[in-house]
Symmetry: D2
Subunit: 338 residues, 4 copies
């Protein structure tokens, strides 16, 4: 893929002319307006062209190829880190974002209690599954739309944004009607129909790394969303599968700085699924922030021992509050805030 | 899950009474009629009951629990191996089934030529992708419905059944209108919306093992299809991800006898994706049959060097013909035929 | 294995009587004197006995079995964290220990320069390989004893302790004559002859986790050293093999708190081998301390681009100095010092 | 590394002159005399030289570089497959070699019985461990030299060659005094001191792939033995570590044709350790021969349920006899004999 970099002082008219030329050549233009510069990506299989075609146009600074297999997701395409904004919350900036809540929405009571707890401790996003991908067809599959309603209501009561999983392209509109952030789960990271569907909305998408996927494959999955028009992608490292047995998965902590280097997209960590054990959530969370993560998504349940799923890895409310205070100290040590 | 095993001489009326009782208790009955015995599985969360309730009914031989996490897919539930029939082809019986063809349907010419080649060499199913799951959104994504039409036509001309991938629950009806077998690809093995959708049709489903999924997870995925009502599931081992670099994936050959032991479902092997190199397809194919596989799905292309995808692992027509002859000898050595 | 726990006020005579009884029963006694309590482990296959035999003896508080497969290495056996002391340096206490230096001792000049650099930046142990385990027999294999001499001299000049690898049981005495800490490398983690040999000396042993070994296997390897009589074992997480390709290995950061939970032994992290890239060493180091590691072993080379091995993952002197200052801040945030 | 290929009609004198020149340039010459041609490998870091130096010498046909990281082990260096001979047995030729016996030598009775059983069923090599590498220092570690004596005696009585593991460079002479083939176990595949020690004897070495090692690393380990002067190396695929849990390890069946392609060394398969379950040994064995393996090493125990180690994966005598008969049929189907 080639990108056309506009000069800092290029005007709307000049940018428009470049976009028209890109279209004339048979490519789809992708606009990225940074604070300083505007960049136009040329997606698809258009005609062959001489870079001079663009270099000769007013306002054009340069025409450069992107070497990485992922294009719109790469730092080559966009140097400045992307900050995803939703209401008051900004994800990818200096402030670290904490998403927390139960694995599944189980009831009004459970979720309202959880929402209060996590809001009070300082989280800014409430998590909770309404559609649950379960290994067994006989396990609890979530409350569906009823769960979405409860989640929305809990978010509104506490002022928290809400994130929840969508499992099928057919449910994207439904979930988007209630949630602030749509999660694509690890098992669906390469469900291309779903990626295309969430690429066609504008709400932020939390894309979890597949437990069997390389970082490159994660960024290629993000590329599906970006190239379909949705620039609001948040990546999530949630542990990969290895041979180690004391943990549910293996937290690939180095993926955080690797992704920061390769991509401009925000990256958060899920210490709960990555480790699978309550006693490991705190050290994993601290290490994630130390490694440069932009946030965390943590399972917290008012009564973990009664949870319908993932109880063993869910924090008690008081454990979460204590962790938040420890996180503040680590954040400070890397010049960030929570 | 509990199953009710009927006596060999139990009649329709007795079986019907048991089914009614199962429903009254709040379970969904799953009927499996073997050559000798009829079994009724009790799916879902019904009322607690005393096994005596059933043991006291005429025609009932036994009531037993299934210990495995997968139920309908287990040999505990159904001792006799399942044979999936489509037109003249039977998958899972003594005859080994060979599916072959190009990775993707690229054109009428290419596919017709491929179909002739594989039919002549003795294959009974033609493979070819119309919807292609590609890591990059910028790679060739398949011809879509146009590809399905070509595939159907090629199958009809040569008398081959056709198998092709379906990637989205929204496309299941479309693909089922053209294909004899619907493939769920490795990346979608835990795409539960898709599994449920193919579970609601009756055409056979070829379910490929995810490249980092355990055998148990594969059988749980099959359980989603079976529990939605479609008993015609064919499993496929296609290589798992490991650290070894000389092969694209690592063919888990032991998965074949492991699955034969755990499940009654037929299991075939994909030596092309499992190895990723043309020179390895033949030894991998021979080893699969020696290990007890019920069939193979092999990439064959009239001109591999011109293939739009997977050229490096596609056999030339003459290589495929030679392999078929070698396979006959191995099949004989394990008392099977091709 | 059973352990006999002595009362806090038990005297030497009472402990001695228990030891004698243990021997009479055919076991080998292993003594662990904690600050508060003394514990006697009973190793080997002795006679069956009634716990009452010991409970009736004066000074005995309890007799309990150790459930873990590793015994002397477990927290069940010894609750208090082990602190390995060498000269002034204590490993496993509140102070975090930094070991640093080049992959290999290449020359007097190179090592003296490296030693100065790491000493000045605040490290307390100098690393440098004299015997190098190399994948190819044609690669640089290290300077051997000449390297050991240089290493010793560099340590003495700068006041640093020195750590270096031993690859064969036949070299243990030689290496122990020069080094303060003997390293058993990842490839030799299950070289039992070597483990037994370093178990028979008293100098501290740095035991690196094999790149595809589980934590349990690491602790079992430590058990070989401990059961041969050497209590001074320092564990090291240095990355495990996975399918991810952007990093040389996958740093299993959760192994740090997992090991802290299972064992009393100190655990340090090698961010250089774990990641394989210079730009990842700093974030990996920070995350290790945040996760609770007792120290780090970092590759630093005066001129990484001229290194005979591992240049790409070695820090420049100024990078190391900067990292040390960042580490101080993280250490403070988890109530430790460097 | 460069190799000098001599003309088919080159005489001893001409070859000698080349060897002298190689030495003069500072390389160590490695001679490989094939049926048709003689090849001289130039090992080590000698002086730079113009290929013309050799091309101008009488009897020299060509001077070519070896591209693979492994040199003496590569097919580039030696096109014809190596056949390792010991007494009457030839390993690597058309005849498939079967090695069988118990995991460990437990007693005279046990081993003599096992030897009779495997000899009668048609095996040509007896296996049995005298030095056992065990994960736990508290497990049975083998009978040591006493075990070697029993093994030798059992071999002599039945006319079987014997293979047994050596774990330490210090034991190489001792083990070589009793065994016909020395095994380097999976855990020691990168124990370079041991590889060098077995490289300095002439008895055949059975080198097992590490459960965490790539094929390239296996061939590099073989290179250590070859470059130390011992050309009699037999490779063994014995399963690698993966995430799959129904098998002890994952048999990497494709490694067989991969190695056949890369190297001239014989390669056998260990279906017992690769699968870990008795019911999988037969299908794994059949698949190995179908894939082109030169032999098998199978655990057989007179009474598996009483075995001190690996009982669950050891065949009963009658199972082994039946397997041998099935193997004959598969061997025939790939034009080989047993």
């Amino acid at each position: 893929m080639m990108i056309v970099v506009m000069k800092a002082d290029a005007g709307v008219k000049q940018t428009g002319a470049v976009i028209t030329k890109v279209q004339q050549l048979g490519f789809e233009p992708h606009l990225s307006q940074g604070e300083k510069k505007t960049i136009i990506g040329m997606i698809g299989n258009g005609a062959k062209f001489d870079p001079q075609t663009f270099l000769a146009m007013p306002g054009v600074e340069n025409v450069v190829p992107i070497q990485q297999p992922f294009k719109l997701a790469s730092r080559e395409f966009k140097k400045a880190s992307t900050v995803v904004s939703l209401n008051g919350t900004r994800i990818g900036g200096n402030k670290i974002v904490i998403m927390a809540g139960p694995c599944a929405v189980e009831s009004r009571d459970q979720l309202f209690k959880a929402a209060e707890v996590v809001a009070e401790a300082g989280a800014s996003v409430l998590r909770g599954g309404a559609f649950k991908p379960r290994t067994s067809p006989y396990s609890f599959q979530g409350l569906g739309e009823e769960g979405l309603k409860i989640l929305r209501e809990a978010g509104d009561r506490t002022g928290l944004a809400v994130v929840t999983e969508v499992m099928s392209p057919m449910d994207v509109d439904l979930v988007a009607a209630y949630a602030d952030i749509l999660q694509v789960g690890a098992r669906n990271m390469q469900n291309y129909s779903l990626l295309e569907a969430v690429g066609k909305i504008t709400k932020p998408v939390l894309l979890k790394r597949g437990l069997m996927s390389t970082v490159e494959e994660l960024l290629m999955a993000a590329e599906y969303i970006l190239s379909n028009g949705n620039p609001n992608v948040i990546l999530c490292e949630r542990g990969i599968r290895s041979f180690e047995k004391y943990t549910r998965n293996t937290l690939d902590i180095a993926a955080v700085p690797v992704i920061k280097n390769l991509s401009h997209l925000p990256i958060i960590v899920d210490p709960s699924h990555a480790t699978g054990h309550r006693y490991l959530v705190a050290p994993a969370s601290l290490s994630a922030i130390a490694a440069g993560a932009d946030g965390l998504i943590i399972e917290v349940h008012p009564k973990p021992e009664e949870a319908l799923s993932d109880g063993a890895q869910s924090l008690h409310p008081e454990e979460f509050a204590e962790l938040m205070s420890d996180l503040c100290r680590i954040a400070q040590a890397v010049d960030r805030v929570i």
